[in-house]
């Protein structure tokens, strides 16, 4: 970098880029590169711009809120524990973020710079500085400054605080960069992309966990901030939270501990930078993943006799074949796995949240059958354009019926036990047991109705599910998807209405001794409606095979 080819040298001004230290010239280039990538990304669509500006404003509001909130807690007992844990949580976020959003920052991927003659030390310096530009660092700054203001009392603590803020931000950023670089192979491989698809799930479930935890903490009769002490006793030794604890120690006059806390964070920063530099050098001097992909062996499965146990348990007909493929996809395909996990997770979460809040009703258990039943929707969209393989084996309404029935049975294999467990759990924890027959019978009828309408919607309103990214509907098909889901829910409610009518009638007529009948009647009704719906859907599937294929191939 410091010497240039003789032909180009005369055109350069003395003291220009060729003569300057690489570190000082590289940083503005990287900053401009990052801003250009951001600008060009936003230029692609107005929707993206709106989303970005909205998330920017939201983040700034959150950052301001966190800052104000922490400052307001100044002087409160156990505030030290809160500050330590918040910073530790944020650090954890920085560590996992690059794994879930690998495409979020183009400059993050050092393999893109591999053809440039750059030395690791200036490269790391510049990349670290560039990483400080963005929403994440601003939020981190707000949280760190807030924590320090909350905890610092006295001049020594203030000085410690300034050092702590700098250390917290640098450690967080260096951690994210080092993790990203160490995992760049994973992130550019198929498994990494699979992982990224599941990120939404982790965020949704993690958000609920935080929500429940905060309810426990700040809800009526809860222990308050003192509940944090046991956890923070451990976490206060982990950098960079140790730097925040140093501020508390300095305020209390424990200067030895303060110095130790800051030193721990500084050592962590040094080690992270060393690790980052080492992995960066390795990554940039060895073949990249596109070369290695040809010999990638990671999905090699152990040869199993006759295809494993599941295959032997299922019938050999089309039904068993379809069920087996469906269950394998539920486990192996990230988008399908995400759909199932969301259905199970949210279906379980609604009653669980009711239990935790203590004011729930057993009727929240309907969420289980509603969410599982919705998995029957857009069945062919879940196949992506591989639906052509299915289409090429469907010639008659009978074939289509068997295909739909196989999928419905695969769904029922998971849904019926799950709904049963959730309803029993809700009856036991929320009660009363007297409502068990109502809820279970209606749940089964609702599940059957959703299978029926799902089969019809799959035939009439198919849409594509893009396999990459977090979108679940291909552009331009949103209206179809929402119409099919909303319409389907309404029609399902109508289908399940006779069962609801029967339930109400039994209650009004005072025939409480006969309420147990609701379960067998509900099961039979659900099965009947489901099979009727599939019978109605089958000829539509046959008649619309090319149209369905075209609709599901857009992703």
């Amino acid at each position: 970098m410091t010497t240039s080819p003789s032909s180009a040298a005369p055109t350069r001004a003395p003291g220009g880029p060729a003569a300057a230290a690489p570190g000082t010239s590289l940083t503005p280039v990287f900053v401009r590169l990052k801003l250009s990538l951001l600008r060009n990304g936003l230029r692609q669509s107005t929707g993206r711009t709106v989303a970005y500006v909205a998330s920017l404003l939201l983040s700034l509001l959150c950052a301001a809120g966190v800052l104000v909130g922490l400052v307001a807690l100044r002087g409160v007992e156990h505030a030290g524990a809160l500050g330590v844990l918040l910073v530790a949580l944020l650090t954890l976020g920085w560590a996992v973020m690059p794994l879930f959003f690998p495409g979020g920052d183009e400059t993050l991927d050092p393999t893109r710079l591999v053809m440039l003659p750059l030395r690791p030390r200036p490269l790391i310096f510049s990349m670290l500085i560039v990483s400080l530009v963005g929403i994440g660092p601003v939020f981190t700054l707000a949280l760190a400054v807030g924590s320090v203001i909350m905890l610092a009392h006295g001049a020594a603590a203030a000085v410690t605080g300034v050092l702590a803020v700098v250390l917290v931000i640098l450690v967080c950023v260096a951690l994210a960069r080092a993790v990203a670089t160490a995992n760049v192979r994973l992130l550019t491989s198929r498994r990494g992309r699979d992982l990224a698809v599941l990120s939404g799930l982790f965020i949704a479930l993690g958000g609920q966990a935080v929500n429940l935890a905060s309810q426990k903490l700040f809800g009526a009769g809860a222990a308050g901030l003192s509940a944090l002490e046991p956890a923070s006793d451990v976490v206060r030794w982990i950098p960079p939270a140790s730097a925040v604890d140093a501020v508390r120690a300095a305020s209390e006059g424990a200067y030895g501990r303060a110095v130790l806390g800051l030193a721990l964070a500084a050592v962590a920063l040094f080690l992270l930078l060393w690790w980052w530099r080492r992995t960066l050098t390795t990554v940039m001097t060895s073949p990249d993943s596109s070369t290695l992909q040809a010999v990638e062996k990671d999905s090699g499965r152990k040869q199993r006799a006759a295809g494993g146990g599941l295959q032997r348990l299922l019938p050999e007909s089309r039904t068993g074949t379809v069920m087996l493929r469906m269950l394998r996809y539920a486990w192996r395909d990230p988008k399908t796995k995400m759909g199932w996990a969301m259905a199970f997770g949210v279906g379980l979460l609604i009653p669980v949240v009711s239990v935790v809040q203590g004011n729930g009703s057993i009727y929240t258990a309907f969420s289980a059958s509603a969410l599982l039943g919705m998995q029957m929707y857009n069945q062919f969209g879940q196949d992506t354009s591989a639906f052509w393989m299915v289409a090429s084996t469907i010639s008659t309404p009978r074939d289509a019926y068997l295909e739909l029935r196989g999928r419905a049975l695969g769904l029922a294999l998971a849904a019926v036990p799950f709904v049963t467990v959730v309803v029993i759990g809700a009856a036991a924890l929320l009660g009363p047991w007297s409502a068990f027959w109502d809820v279970y019978g209606l749940s089964l009828a609702l599940l059957g109705s959703l299978v029926a309408t799902g089969a019809l919607a799959s035939a009439v309103f198919p849409y594509s599910i893009p396999s990459e990214g977090n979108k679940n509907i291909a552009p331009g098909q949103g209206a179809i998807a929402w119409f099919s889901l909303l319409g389907g829910m309404l029609v399902s409610a109508v289908f399940a209405a006779p069962m609801a009518g029967l339930t109400i009638w039994l209650h009004v007529a005072g025939l409480h001794g006969l309420l147990w009948l609701l379960v067998p009647v509900g099961a039979a009704y659900g099965i009947g409606v489901a099979f009727l719906g599939m019978r109605m859907a089958a000829p539509r599937v046959v008649a619309r095979l090319p149209e369905i294929l075209a609709a599901v191939s857009k992703g």
Partner: protein
Amino acid sequence: MANEPEHIDQSAVAGTAPAGPDGGRDGAVPPAVRVRGLWKKYGEQIAVAGIDLTLPAGRFIGLVGPNGAGKTTTLSMVTGLLRPDAGQVEIGGHDVWQDPVAVKSRIGVLPEGLRLFERLSGRELLSYIGRLRGLPGAEVDKRADQLLEVLDLSGAQNKLVVDYSTGMRKKIGLAAALLHNPEILFLDEPFEGVDPVSAQTIRGVLERYTSSGATVVFSSHVMELVESLCDWVAVIAGGRIRSDGPLAEVRGDAPSLQDAFLELVGAGDRAAGHDLDWLGGGSAR
């Protein structure tokens, strides 16, 4: 690679098509494919503009044309994966849209640009599609074993298709298309992006398949390949058939199929490189 008349004669003799240059048009055996007035429009753009085509049974048939000529659209409509705006398609004498039961069991398809069930391993994919087609499980496993062996996929049979290379994907797609022993095989760009070793394997399997009297229809824009493999050619450009018939007839007096093709699609006299007189040599900047 360029011109192998001996090979062409061999496969023509080996085929069971009735004698005569227009094989099967007036014989007892119905033609493999008969297309009448096939049209397809995407919005304003006409992809296929009235194709009439009769392809004899028992031949190795190449559908050639430049990119965007309508090859994929035509093959998709012929195999029942895309609904035409107008026109009639018969396969082995059965209408594709009126009699799908007879047609779908007789044809094998390897489309271009559509996925496979990639989260299954190669073996699981064959097991799945074979059972979906109603073949007995033991028979599916036996055929899958042999196909994986012949196509050199045995070592990767337990690997997910999503981790396969392009050549391996084409081979597993070919295996899936052959599993039910179809009479007619439709392959859309089977050699596109395929390495020479895999290409030779695919070629060997296809030659063995046609020598038993079955029909292969495949699309390509690599003329040398078509010339060395096929004994019957249809040239498509701008959504229309420009010429079709036995290879020798389509080639005519031209030195190679490439030259005949360029003349047929009207691209023969394009002056290439006229404006690039600065390019080359490396001396000038």
